[in-house]
Symmetry: C2
Subunit: 459 residues, 2 copies
């Protein structure tokens, strides 16, 4: 393949992998899209990415960018194709402590950025289970969410500037570190979340936040989801919006967790149906533990809280987080699974669960639900194991969930992205004028359709 | 004009204004772009906007959307052309107190939304001097900023969903109220700040915030800008980031204010060079007044604060705000003026003032500076009255400021938008690849170039 030789001339033969060397790029974390790429290119610089894209564009060769490969929607699936891996571009160029910004390459691992920020008494607040492998490039391309969105926003709220390579190899420089910048169309927000279909993000300026002086973390059992939302609102009001995480784990999730993880412990003495993990953080001298205890004991008296346990030390806090973050591994341990990534206005979450329960009882009475939710921002990872391996049944389940989502003004794609797995849903559910706009923008910026074709935007 | 009759058939003859009736649309707040439009269309609904655009597109008739007409950059300037005014579409459809969102038409006046939110013990935090006339449509089209950006973000951070009419009359429905939604390219953020070049924004879902229980507002004089930034950081740290406004007024601004406003009062007993207005707000029971007083008295002891006055009541607080908000009226009282709207990373603001002082002394020793700054977010409205009415001199002044902006990684267009007045700067200073991307997107979404042509994106 003459093209391979040309790619090798750009990145060096050692960084144009084929054959056995590409095995580790054969599937993402969902495990659902399995297939080896033909070539994996590992450029060392934006200039090399630019040369790769210019050549690919000339030769009409499709390119699929990949960084940590921890996606769950098949966004980096390209069997036999060319993957462009950003993993060698992994320098943290600058941590500016007075402006509270960092300049990072696309291949920087999320947890490395966490560590570098903490060393300066700052945090990069975006976090989720895959942080030890996920890289900034993928985080930005998918507009990743996670557990702290409630307090700090999604990825797109944390990125001030970026650099990207376009389909034709040109480099666009949007590397500003500004909080106010109205100089034309917002290309930054267009590229963030575009899943590699409009450009290859190579570098970013991200916001850092002050490191909290103290955390208060607790497990709380409530009789109803409405009571849980009351707990959220009261805690937000009492702390001035300092709730960092508000996670919901139902009974069946805890059961699976207990079953699968050695040394796993129940959150409470007796089993509870609604298990909430709440975390509050403060950068001031306020005693957030005290505040949280007061709210919980008050709600316990009025019967709105059934049980509660505050983490007494960092190791108890870690245990609470591990129980929640096990979800990333637990979700796909058993197949077949119908997994979703949906979001609602907060006040409609209880109605979703009521309605989906009724719908599932009708469709497949013997299904087993398995879900967790970032309840604080209305994002539910609602999954079910259907009672039988039947594609028709699974399609019906997805459509039933989608119907309720549409009815309640929710999103069928909250934080994992669209990739391949939600392409049909995009086609069915997204506003058709919006879809047409996306196709026109894609056509204008990548006229040969070489950047991650077949993802995000349905034909 | 047959086309006029067709427009009349859509909006009614009473709402297709010509002749004397269009006088009030002849200039924006800058006063620099004066010229009567040929026709002003005042549709009553999204459907009517859609019909207008479909007809205009068919007839290749340019359309310039306008709402409150309080812009400062000529973004709605269309002498002899067709303005599409959203002012009749002014319904606040919904204030959802539990989800803390509002659904509003593009023609809702900003202060009306403030009032409606406050009636529910909530706030819509975006605010600036023109709030009594500015409308949501223009606020969104220009991604307006203002004095509370520090705490709550720009317009784009406060909009969850929107509806817009495209150049060909199709309506795109992005009216979600979600905090997590990764369903395709982010068209919402593309339309926000597009200054009417990609679509006519007709409706929005905006975020509301809890109404603060208490404010602490003070005027503070510091010896240097560095000391002022220390005051900002200490206040942010002590309050957990609760600073809502941090405004800088230099001596010459106060002088002009004293001169022009009847009953105006000096902020301090003696004249000070650096006058800072700081406002902290709390939704909890914390005594923010106490916190602010402690910091100021501490800094006074170490010589970093020269004088300070805390507002003792709402009327004193209003006086402080009026002094700052007079800037909108004061900026253009005298001509010629070279006005800018620039932003920097916070830590580089003092360096900008040093360098611009040197540059101005060389270019025009007898100029009079007149500026205010949203110091807390690095946004400076740096203006000067040149010593003579000389276009060549004024061009040189602008270029000198731009050079320093580019050198310090700043923005030449922070919050007012580009419109006509910064088109040349866009051409000179914006990354050329970014400009090309904007042109391609514009061409893809408005192939006939009928939406607000000649604005925002230079040819």
């Amino acid at each position: 393949m003459a093209l391979l030789q040309d790619f090798e001339a750009i990145v060096g033969t050692a960084n144009a992998l084929t054959g056995d060397d590409v095995a580790r790029w054969s599937k993402d974390w969902s495990g659902k899209y399995s297939g080896e790429p033909g070539v994996v290119l590992r450029p060392a610089s934006t200039q090399e990415v630019s040369q790769i894209m210019a050549l690919a564009n000339e030769q009409r060769q499709s390119i699929t960018p990949v960084s940590g490969h921890t996606g769950l929607v098949g966004g980096t699936y390209a069997p036999g194709g060319v993957l462009l891996s950003l993993d060698r571009m992994n320098t943290i160029h600058d941590i500016n402590t007075s402006a509270r910004t960092a300049v990072v390459d696309a291949g920087v691992i999320l947890s490395s950025l966490h560590d570098a920020a903490e060393a300066e008494d700052l945090i990069f607040p975006l976090t989720f289970g895959a942080r030890g492998s996920a890289m900034i490039g993928g985080v930005m391309s998918t507009n990743a969410g996670g557990s702290n969105v409630l307090r700090y926003g999604n990825t797109r709220d944390l990125v001030l500037g970026l650099e990207a390579v376009l389909a034709d190899g040109r480099i666009v420089d949007l590397m500003t570190a500004l909080h106010k910048d109205n100089s034309g169309l917002n290309l930054r927000q267009l590229l963030i979340g575009s899943e590699g279909t409009l450009g290859v993000i190579t570098k970013a300026v991200v916001k850092l936040a002050p490191k909290p002086k103290a955390y208060a973390t607790a497990m709380v059992a409530t009789p109803t989801l409405e009571d849980a939302l009351t707990l959220l609102n009261r805690t937000q009001d009492a702390t001035g919006g300092a709730v960092e995480a508000f996670e919901y784990m139902p009974r069946n999730y805890i059961d699976v967790y207990m079953d699968r993880f050695e040394g796993a412990r129940e959150p409470f003495e007796g089993p509870q149906d609604i298990n909430i993990m709440v975390e509050v953080a403060t950068t001031t001298d306020t005693d957030v533990n005290e505040t949280l205890l007061e709210i919980m004991s008050d709600m316990m008296e009025s019967g709105m809280v059934l049980d509660a346990a505050v983490a007494q030390n960092e190791s108890q806090r870690r245990e609470m987080w591990e129980r929640r973050e096990a979800a990333a591994e637990l979700a796909f341990w058993r197949q077949p699974i119908v997994d979703t990534d949906i979001a609602f206005p907060l006040d409609l979450v209880p109605e979703f669960f009521e309605r989906v329960g009724v719908a599932m009882a009708a469709l497949d009475p013997d299904h087993e639900p398995n879900f967790v939710a970032h309840l604080g921002d209305g994002n539910i990872h609602y999954s079910v194991y259907p009672s039988r391996d039947d594609q028709d049944l699974m399609d019906k389940i997805i459509e039933a969930v989608e119907d309720i989502v549409a009815d309640l003004g929710g999103s069928f794609s909250a934080e994992h992205g669209v990739g391949l797995s939600k392409l049909n849903t995009m086609r069915r559910r997204k506003d058709p004028v919006a879809l047409d706009m996306m196709r026109k923008i894609k056509g204008a910026l990548d006229p040969n359709g070489i950047l991650n074709p077949g993802k995000l935007i349905p034909d």
